[in-house]
Subunit: 324 residues, 2 copies
Amino acid sequence: MPTTFDDVCAAAVRLRDRVHHTPVLTSPLLDEWLGFHAFLKAEHLQRSGSFKLRGATNAVMTIGDDLATRGVAAHSSGNHAAALALAARDRGIVAHVVMPADAPAAKRAAVDGYGARVVECEPTIAARENALRRVLEETGAVEVHPYDDDRVIAGAGTAALELLEAVPGLDVVIVPVGGGGLLAGTSIAAHGFDPAVRVIAGEPAGADDAARLLAVGRLIPSTAPDTIADGLLTSLSPRTFDVIRKHVERIVPVGDAETISAMRVLWERMKQVIEPSSAVAVAGARLAGLDGLRVGIVLSGGNCDPRQVPWALDHPRRAAPDLS
Amino acid sequence: MPTTFDDVCAAAVRLRDRVHHTPVLTSPLLDEWLGFHAFLKAEHLQRSGSFKLRGATNAVMTIGDDLATRGVAAHSSGNHAAALALAARDRGIVAHVVMPADAPAAKRAAVDGYGARVVECEPTIAARENALRRVLEETGAVEVHPYDDDRVIAGAGTAALELLEAVPGLDVVIVPVGGGGLLAGTSIAAHGFDPAVRVIAGEPAGADDAARLLAVGRLIPSTAPDTIADGLLTSLSPRTFDVIRKHVERIVPVGDAETISAMRVLWERMKQVIEPSSAVAVAGARLAGLDGLRVGIVLSGGNCDPRQVPWALDHPRRAAPDLS
């Protein structure tokens, strides 16, 4: 049975005291740049640095005690890995995380820091899936997929639910889309909260399987995604697509240049470190013709290395002496 | 007559609705790293990107109407320039800002953006002072010094006052020190609020005139300051020193490596873009032996170019593909 609004509400109760009720940020400068009144749900300030903790925690907390003792498992090199590791630590069970050997050191360190058991593998999807299968066979652990999982979708939907409860009269909610877990959860939450709320997604133009999917009505996974938004390389699953096709008004393609501009505005004007995936939602909202509306935007995460700030390469480092 | 607690309280009333009542940020991860419970007054989220707007606005608002029509003036290549420009715009008067020709483009753009009249000069202190003198003679504008000004000191003190009102039972308040405006205002505010509150400052080891001053009891300006904290290159004035010697318990010298570590923790773990000057206060607190205490820290500003993030040079840019 697909995820329902009741599932999202139940997840919200379950997650209380386990995840941060993140703040909603606003900025007149940002509003001027966007042309509408933006309410940013600050999931980059969530524990583990992304909204992924919501889905991971909802899944981990709903596993029966007997199964839970065997632990949980996933393959991931990104935010889901850290989130699952933290959710498992919160419950006091083991997380087995299959990570490619070339995963960024900072992400590997986060997963290690949360006490997960890391299983290294070759950096191919096939190797990751094989390694995960072996882990599941050897340990009996419960797989928690990053998005193709109803418990994860319901948990992800709680971010939008909190946003809609915090900000009366939102016209639109917009989130980034990769595998579609956040978008599916958001659309269920928004539709259940108020069917008049429009749900839109920003998607990297270089990984636009969701847009094509909505256009032609069937799954065509991205085979060679090319975007700076490293959290959005994955493709929808039939499960997330089924939800999204029902409730999502539109998928806005966002070029990397637009993503970088939005990221830069958030960093430089709002002083918030957001990762490119978050900026895809902001840039998508800017492109969506929402002038004058009240628009909720979920900033999905803030896990990126400032050393890799995408506008860093244009300019050599300058000494900047300032006598106040 | 030197600045009093009443002056700070009057400034707080005057600034209401003119500056942001910035939030106080906390983080269990940060507390673990610091060894005490930290309450961060988020002046990097202040309008103009730094606490400087408080002093500039307090000064600009207390000028009589007749004088005000002639405008205000200062030389600055940093946060005071932007703050004075914005404070003047808020009052509808002209700000004449003398900036060296090599001022960072982003800071110049901010000052231009707030509608100030920028007077360019050679990048030496002598040229800046000469240019300012000419501007004052030609326009009759009122000079608003970045820190050697009682109105500016009183305004700066309102940040600590808000922090002390928001967080009951603070043991210590710590701020960065450059010219000493923030430290003087903070010490007046803290002492007036509760004489038991200890006031400490973090100071760049490479621009340690305040520490030497407190040690030997007389002014020895820094002649060749060398620190990454570009907002703290200036030296105390007799006015700020007189306040500081009375109320400040200790000046903690902070090396650039410690500043960079603190900056990195704030960026990477708390997702907050703070400038090096803010990090000097955080690092100073960490070095000050405050284990277990409740410590208020003023994050003075967030105006820095992410392209110049100081840990950027250690590592080449890496592609970081992530399949969530």
